[in-house]
């Protein structure tokens, strides 16, 4: 009898604990929702940001913003690029208002502005006399505009350039001109290529933002294009074919081992370890060089064939979803993080090499920055200034974008096409076979725009 009584007491204890736990969880969850979701009086803003060194610096400097704006709390969620793109797209498409700001690229801004997913920032900019939008590098602000209004403010900008080890090229008696042709680069790569050092690192990792970024700039400078003015796919045209043949042959004959898996990070590591003599990639790469790579490198503009100034253009910018309920607070932060004063703050607090490049013309007039970024500062700013997203190649095109085609379908199309090229690099098919398949994929996309 006493056993039964004890049993029921224990049972009640278990039941009470379980109910208590559920109530406690619900309580903590509701508290969580209040902090992050959307109390209209709250001044907590949430920024979804891509993870790169400049954004890590911004995270570290948020306390400086809060010193001046004690009424606004900023929460920054950093994610790798692919996760960020997925989360942010979900957020704006479902209008769920999880974020008040996010970093979006030149690819997204015009597309999302057209759909009404992001806020026109020009009226906000007009209210702040010190913002000086005229100081933004013109090509970058053009890429972030829709109907002549800025829909996102640039936090970081880049183009592409050739980085090379002066000592390795000099050992073979090679001098690289400031504006090399791709033939000169290929000849140099083959001359320095050996069993221990590869001639050049070129991305082979499938993905529209990976392998296709440098490859598209080669296509452009060969005179190729994805679509003609009537949206007919052009991937089997001689210029496109010549460019892809050139790129893949160069990767195979003088490129890094395991090129099919090499993206930005892998090439950076190979270059830093002295395993490759040259590398064609983002202008910001040089700020990550260490050891001999930092002291013995020189920089040249993106190599060309028939189209001059073939470097790409990319910017990470702060955009504001239309669903944000704290637009004024969000703008106050975006204004601060993309201002001239922020650039000075980074320089003074963290060092001038940390300054986010490629956004403001005035950055390149700061003597301390010129000294810190030295060898590649001019190549960066000139490459960005001369990158024209409306005229990526010598032939007319119906789209904007240099290393991408600014249409919704391009992420999928680019990923699929780059998979075909990766198979060629791996030796699984020929360039002609890959281009036939890629042409069919692109033609299906082009049809949607022909009506």
């Amino acid at each position: 009898m006493s056993d039964t009584k004890l049993g029921s007491v224990q049972w009640r204890f278990v039941a009470t604990t379980a109910i208590g736990l559920i109530v406690a969880l619900a309580g903590s969850a509701c508290a969580g929702a209040g902090g992050g979701g959307g109390g209209s009086n709250s001044k907590t803003i949430t920024l979804a940001a891509v993870d790169n060194p400049q954004m890590a610096d911004l995270k570290g400097l948020v306390s400086e913003f809060q010193k001046a704006h004690s009424d606004i709390t900023v929460k920054i969620v950093t994610l790798p690029e692919d996760q960020l793109r997925q989360q942010v797209t979900q957020d704006v498409a479902a209008n769920s208002g999880r974020y008040d700001l996010f970093t979006i690229g030149t690819y997204e801004v015009p597309l999302w502005a057209k759909k009404g997913w992001i806020e026109n920032l020009s009226p906000f900019i007009a209210k702040d006399s010190s913002y000086d939008p005229g100081d933004l590098i013109p090509g970058v602000s053009k890429a972030l505009s829709y109907n002549n209004n800025l829909y996102a403010v640039p936090f970081y900008g880049e183009s592409s350039m050739l980085m090379y080890r002066k000592d390795m090229l000099a050992a073979k008696g090679i001098t690289m001109p400031d504006h090399p042709t791709w033939d000169q680069v290929a000849a140099a790569a083959k001359a320095v290529n050996s069993s221990s050092v590869s001639g050049i690192c070129l991305r082979g990792l499938p993905g529209w933002g990976e392998q296709l970024a440098p490859l598209d700039t080669v296509v452009n400078t060969y005179g190729g294009r994805w679509f003609d003015e009537k949206w007919n796919a052009q991937l089997t045209q001689p210029e496109f074919k010549a460019a892809v043949n050139f790129y893949i042959n160069l990767v195979k004959s003088a490129g890094e081992p395991g090129a099919g898996n090499a993206g930005f990070t892998e090439c950076l590591n190979a270059y830093n370890n002295g395993k490759v003599a040259m590398w064609y990639d983002a202008t910001v790469a040089a700020s990550n060089f260490t050891g001999a790579a930092a002291t013995n490198s020189a920089y040249a503009y993106a190599p060309h064939v028939v189209k001059d100034w073939s470097g790409w253009l990319w910017a990470w910018a702060l955009g504001m979803p239309s669903s944000s309920k704290k637009k004024d607070a969000a703008w106050t932060f975006a204004d601060w993080a993309t201002s001239k004063d922020y650039i000075k703050l980074v320089g003074q607090k963290l060092g001038w090499a940390h300054v986010p490049p490629g956004t403001r013309t005035s950055t390149y007039a700061i003597p301390e920055y010129q000294q810190a970024a030295g060898a590649f500062a001019q190549v960066t700013v000139q490459s960005i200034a001369n990158a024209d997203i409306a005229h990526p190649t010598v032939q007319p095109v119906p789209y904007v974008g240099i290393q991408y085609v600014d249409i919704d379908e391009f992420q999928q199309l680019g990923d699929q096409v780059s998979q075909e090229f990766a198979k060629v690099i791996a030796g699984g098919q020929t360039v002609d076979q890959a281009l036939q398949k890629a042409q069919a994929l692109a033609a299906a996309v082009g049809k949607k725009y022909q009506t």
């Binding site: 049993g7 619900a26 903590s28 969850a29 979701g37 950093t78 997925q86 989360q87 930005f264 395993k275």
Partner: protein, 273 residues
């Protein structure tokens, strides 16, 4: 003959340790990478001899990591307790006092795991949005409970089947109630099984990334999201990522170590009758 047997034993021991090494090596390498500098961690050929540094751990710890770990703890412990509270009676009903068509019920339970996670994301996302549960840890607790519950029921049922039926008969003759049966007979007898089930649910919930990344942002983000925040698009990050991953794996390792004895008994419980 005994010499041959001895040799074969040594051989199998070597094979066993080799297999352990192969499985353990990635974890060991992750630990080592965390104690290197970024250039060392990214070097080719890999740096084997190095002076260990805690710089990357310091950088990781200087970040705002406690909320991520607290959220992970709430989501994994909360969902594991719910699985036990809901799963044990269900397993009892299916093993000790089989309900009608209990095989169909069991199949129905496990069939909920046939659906790919990605297929359920959009409905769950919209549901969470409409119930104000986006970026709310309660959403993850509920989802992890539903993910782990079928597994919990199946595991607990298999442990319950091991208990001789006579024990229940004897208890009932002595007048034991249902609650009494559960608390006085079932729980003590399958304690190792409960420990094994809890640990498996805990590990699954602690490491879950897909729903966490899609349904949370800043307030309810969990430890796996803390890890990926170190994957940089334009910089060196291997050492930092390894340091963060080492830290994130510690709680699970600790739980496994504490439950070690129970766990081994639990996992081998059904192996030999």
């Amino acid at each position: 003959m005994s010499e041959v047997a001895g040799r074969s034993k040594v051989l199998w021991s070597i094979v066993g340790w080799l297999v352990v090494f192969v499985f353990f090596f990635p974890v060991l390498w992750m630990w080592l990478e965390g104690f290197k500098t970024e250039p060392q961690a990214a070097s080719t050929p890999p740096t084997i001899l190095f002076v260990p540094t805690l710089a990357e751990f310091q950088e990781v710890l200087s970040g705002d990591f406690p909320p991520f770990f607290i959220n992970s703890a709430i989501a994994s412990i909360g969902s594991t307790l719910l699985v036990l509270v809901l799963g044990l009676p269900a397993a009892y009903a299916l093993a000790i006092r089989p309900v009608k068509r209990s095989r169909d019920v069991l199949f129905f339970f496990i069939s909920t795991r046939f659906l790919p996670f990605a297929a359920s994301l959009v409905p769950l996302y919209l549901l969470a949005r409409d119930l104000q549960l986006l970026d709310n840890i309660l959403a993850l607790v509920l989802i992890y409970t539903t993910i782990n519950l079928p597994l919990g029921v199946w595991l607990l049922r298999s442990f319950l089947l091991e208990i001789p039926h006579d024990l229940f008969e004897a208890a009932r003759v002595d007048g034991a109630s249902f609650h009494h049966e559960i608390l006085r007979i079932v729980v003590p007898l399958i304690a190792p099984g409960l420990a094994a089930t809890s640990l498996i649910c805990l590990i699954f919930s602690w490491n879950e990334f897909f729903y966490a990344v899609n349904l949370t942002s800043s307030v309810a983000a969990t430890a796996p999201l803390f890890l990926v925040s170190f994957i940089s698009g334009r910089g060196l990050f291997y050492a930092k990522l390894a340091a963060a991953a080492t830290l994130a794996s510690l709680p699970v390792l600790l739980a496994g170590w504490i439950a070690q004895r129970q766990l081994i008994r639990g996992l081998t419980m059904g192996a030999v009758k």
